[in-house]
Every structure is written in structure tokens, then in C-alpha cells.
Amino acid sequence: MAGGGTPADLDAAVTAAAPQGVRAVHPAMAVLEYFLVGYKRVWRGTVFSSFALPVLFFLGMGVAVGAYVDRGGNLDMPYLQFIAPGLLAFTGLQIAMMESGFPVLGNFKWHKIYFGMASAPLRVGDMLLGQLGYISLRVLVAATGFLLVMVPFGAIGSAWAVLTPLVAVLVGLAVATPMFAYSATVQSPNLMAIMFRFGMLPMMLFSGVFFPVEQLPGALQPVAHALPLWHGVELSRAAALDVNAAWPVAVHAGYLALWCVVGFALARIRFIKRLAV
């Protein structure tokens, strides 16, 4: 091998400055490609569920529960319209969190995929960007499916609704990045389950998806405001229905971007630490 080179050629190669061949693909893009090759095997199932899930949600929560809620007349819109954009944002969060939980832990602990990547000329940043890119695509596909289902249910009130899948991606990344850091730190699958039970589930319940956060006791409202999902729900609802978000759009988006940046930095630190054995 070694390009069929003789030992003399190799010596010359050593003394010359490291020859940096032209890369045909960016390292992060190569990582994204790797995840997409794996996704080829399961994409049908995920596309199916991204249509089936919202249909179930809308029939159960929107139509059935909605009939009750709308009788009370406490919302200034049909209940189904109220929850649909929030559920869309939550769907993005859920996929992102799932994909950055066990799969990340497994790539360290069981399949050792990251160790194989680390032996190639990839930087940790490339590995993170590539996999986060994959997760973004997954969220984008699912949220777009969700949005398409919203149309026949009459849950869309504005052309701005086309932006909701992007909101879902932003929320997804805001939770995926710190989740990467968490998954790169823990050793036990049990700790992963705890994060879903006590992180994701409460977030779904108290982030204004099913009822306005103003309904929460006063002390709990700042907690809801601190959670990334609430900001995503506000943005998603504002886009889908052309209503005002609770805070300026830039503040909601900026807050989510902050989670992404801090989460990415933490993930990078934890990855470097776990890989350097």
C-alpha cells in the first residue's frame, strides 16, 4: 500500500511538509453522509410515523379534548389550533432528544463508532456538526410532515406557517446540543431514561403546549420561561396562526440560539474528554 511507494518515497514524504491533498468533501459533511447511509434503512418507518403521530394527536387531543375545552370558551381560538403548533415544536424536540440520547451513548459505549471517527482526520467539532446536521434533517422531515397534516385539520392560520419546521429544528438543536454533552458524560442507560422521564416529559407538560403557561402557579412560570420548549412553542404558534408571541420573536429565537451555542461548547468538551483515553 502506501501508494505503492518505496521506503525512499516515504522518507521524502516525511521530510516534506505534510502534503494536504484537496479534500473532496468537508469532514462534517462526511459524518453527515455516514448517518444518512444508516438512515436509509429506517427512513420509511420514520416518515410514516411523522404523518401518523400528528393524526393521532389531532384526533385525540384536538378533536376529542378540544370539544370539551372549546365549550368553556377560555381560549380565543379553537383548541386544536392552539395545540397544533406547540405539538409540532414538541415533535422536533422529541426526535432531537431521542437521537442525541441512546445513540450518542451507544456510539461511545457499545458500538465505539466515535473512536473509529477519532482515528480518522476528523475533529470533534466535525463529528458534532455532522451528527447535528443529520438530526436537523430528521426534525425537518418530521415537522414538515406534521405541518402537512395540520392543513386538512384546519390548524393553520397564516402563510408564515411554512417557517414552523425551521422553528422545530431550532428547538431540536437547543436541546440536542446539551443532550450530547449529557450522553457523552453518563455511563449508564438508566441515567438516560431519567433524562427522558424528568427532562422531556415535564417539558412537554409545562411549556405551554396544552395550556397557556399563565395557567401555571406564579412561582412555576419563570421555570417554564427558562425551558427551551416554551420559546419554541411561542415561535411556532406565532408563525402558524400569525398571532403575537409572548415576547419579541428575536428574544425567543436568541434564547434558543444561546442554548445551541452553550450546548455545543459543552458537548465539545465532554466529547474530547471521553475520547482521550
Binding site: 525512499a8 514524504a13 516525511v14 453522509e33 482526520p121 483515553v277
Partner: protein, 311 residues
């Protein structure tokens, strides 16, 4: 072959994990075109050394240059020119053999067409062409190891690093791996491997260091090491289930040296065929006698007082 700058050069290289020193100040030079081995028992510091050379584990002290570069600052540039076959296979079990090679080639920035072409050539080289389209998961251990070796060659590396390449494989699978590695050697590929099998080291390595407890105990070609630390031949004597120490003292003077193992006595002599009659002349009647050539196992035993297996 040993002219010119070494591809790998370590001076006083140290790796610590907390209070534990895994690699304790080793000096190593690996030159282009040679097959270089780290021979030693588990825990000798071989894999830690390999990971430092592979630029995935930062050294705790000492100097290390790989391909003339600094692993701390130029890790990706160095790794671009290394091929790494780790001790534990880290292939993607869900992808096919070919997909594993192509996706890995892309990490090196290799174009899609070239990556596919190279994957097919390498599958041919490691005799896995018929399994190119099958998932990795059901492949045998030997096949997975050969696939990992193929993956390590996908960037046409200047140095191929193999950490325990045949550990855990059955004898037939081992021979197939050895044969492939020998082919690489013939092509002039620089190989760096770790092993705790002395037969592997003898077959594949032009030069090796024997490691024990994080330090280099000896360095040289297998032949040099045997000449330096052992006699040419060894007589293995068994005495049923008797205690062996009393016999050992009666063997004094027959050979150069006597080693007592739990199940047998090793009598080191340059000529086994003259040593064996001398044993019987002393009225000793061993239940088993075997004359063999000295091996690296004997070198290790002499240097550390332990066998590679028990160490």
C-alpha cells in the same frame, strides 16, 4: 531501510491515568518500510502507546513525533496518513462491509468514485468480495477483523497501526490475517503492531521492543533478542506431578540456565541433543522431554521472570 528520519520517534514518552503510569518513559524509533512490534503482556502499556502515536490520546510527558509532526498540534494531519486497526472492532454493524469502507474513506476527504473503487479493491485484498453487500453484524470475528484491516488501508496510509490484530481469533482466522499482513509487508508498507503472542511477533516483526510494566525491557530483531537473552535451544523437562525445585538443583551445570515453571523445567542449552543424555546421566528420569528452538517467550521469561501467558 533505516536511513532517513524515522516515521515515529518517541523519547521518554509517558502516559499517566491519574496515579497510574501506563507508559513510563519509553524510547522508540520506527523506520519506513519496517514491521515494528510492541510485544508484552496485557497491561504492559502497548495500547496506550499506540493511542498516543495514533493522536487520539495526548501524552503526559516526553517527546513524540509522528511523520515528522507533533501529535498535539497536528493530530488531523497525522491521522490523515495513518491507518488504524483498533483492538476492539468499531465497525458499524448495521451497515454493509462496503458501506463501512466507503463512509470511512469519506472521512479522509476521498471522492465518492475513488472511495467506491478503493473499497472494492480492498474487499478483494482481504478476501471479502463475496460479502461486500452483507451487513457486518453476522460476519465472523475473523472477517470483521479483516474488514477493519481493509478500513485501515482505505486512505493508503504511510503507517498501518494494528493493536492486537489476531487476539480472540481462532487459529485458522489468525493465519488468514497473518498472511494478509505479510502481503502488506512485502509491498513495503510500514507496520506497527502490538501483540502478546510471541509467534505473531516472530512471524511478522522485523524489529520489536519487549514491554513490561510500561517500560521497554529489550529491543532488537527477534533473532537478535533470542541470541542475546537465550541459548539457541531449550529442553523442556516434565516430572509428572512431582515438586520441581529439587530436580532443578540437580540440573546445575548441564546448560547455561534453568527456569522452573509450575508444570515444567526449562533447561537452556545451545545443543539440546547433548543436554538430554546429560540429564539421564544424573539418574533423572523425566516423564516428558522436548527439545525445541528458543523463542521470544524464553526471552520474555528471562527478562521478567514470568511467562507472557501468566504475566
Amino acid at each position: 531501510m533505516t536511513d532517513g528520519a524515522p516515521l515515529i520517534s518517541a523519547r521518554g514518552l509517558i502516559k499517566r491515568f491519574g496515579d497510574f503510569t501506563a507508559v513510563d518513559g519509553i524510547d522508540v524509533d520506527v523506520h519506513a518500510g519496517e514491521a515494528f512490534g510492541f510485544l508484552g503482556p496485557n497491561g504492559a502499556g502497548k495500547s496506550s502507546t499506540m493511542r498516543m502515536i495514533g493522536c487520539v490520546s495526548p501524552p503526559s510527558g516526553g517527546e513524540l513525533r509522528v511523520l515528522g509532526m507533533d501529535p498535539q498540534r497536528q493530530g488531523p494531519d497525522i491521522r490523515a496518513r495513518l491507518g488504524v486497526c483498533p483492538q476492539e472492532d468499531n465497525l458499524d454493524q448495521e451497515l454493509t462491509a462496503r458501506e463501512n469502507l466507503v463512509t470511512y474513506a469519506r472521512y479522509f476527504g476521498i471522492g465518492r468514485k475513488v472511495a467506491r473503487q478503493r473499497a472494492d479493491e480492498l474487499l478483494e485484498f482481504v478476501q471479502l468480495s463475496e460479502r461486500a453487500g452483507s451487513k457486518v453484524e453476522p460476519l465472523s470475528g475473523g472477517m470483521k477483523r479483516r474488514l477493519t484491516i481493509a478500513r485501515a488501508l482505505v486512505n493508503e496510509p504511510d503507517i498501518v497501526m494494528l493493536d492486537e490484530p489476531t487476539t480472540g481469533l481462532d487459529p485458522q482466522a489468525r493465519h488468514l490475517v497473518w498472511e494478509r499482513l505479510f502481503r502488506l509487508k512485502q509491498r513495503g508498507t510500514t507496520l506497527v503492531l502490538t501483540t502478546h503472542y510471541m509467534d505473531e511477533a516472530e512471524q511478522l516483526c522485523d524489529r520489536l521492543v519487549i514491554m513490561d510494566g510500561g517500560a521497554v525491557a529489550a529491543e532488537g530483531s527477534p533473532r537478535e533478542l533470542i541470541e542475546r537473552y537465550s541459548t539457541r535451544e531449550v529442553v523442556e523437562l516434565r516430572f509428572g506431578t512431582d515438586a520441581l525445585e529439587p530436580y532443578a538443583s540437580k540440573l546445575d551445570g548441564i546448560g547455561a540456565r534453568v527456569e522452573v515453571l509450575p508444570d515444567r523445567i526449562l533447561l537452556y542449552a545451545d545443543d539440546g541433543d547433548t543436554a538430554v543424555p546429560a540429564v539421564y546421566e544424573r539418574n533423572l528420569t523425566p516423564s516428558g522431554v522436548l527439545v525445541r528452538r528458543a523463542s521470544l517467550e524464553d526471552v520474555f521469561l528471562h527478562l521478567t521472570g514470568r511467562t507472557l501467558v501468566e504475566a
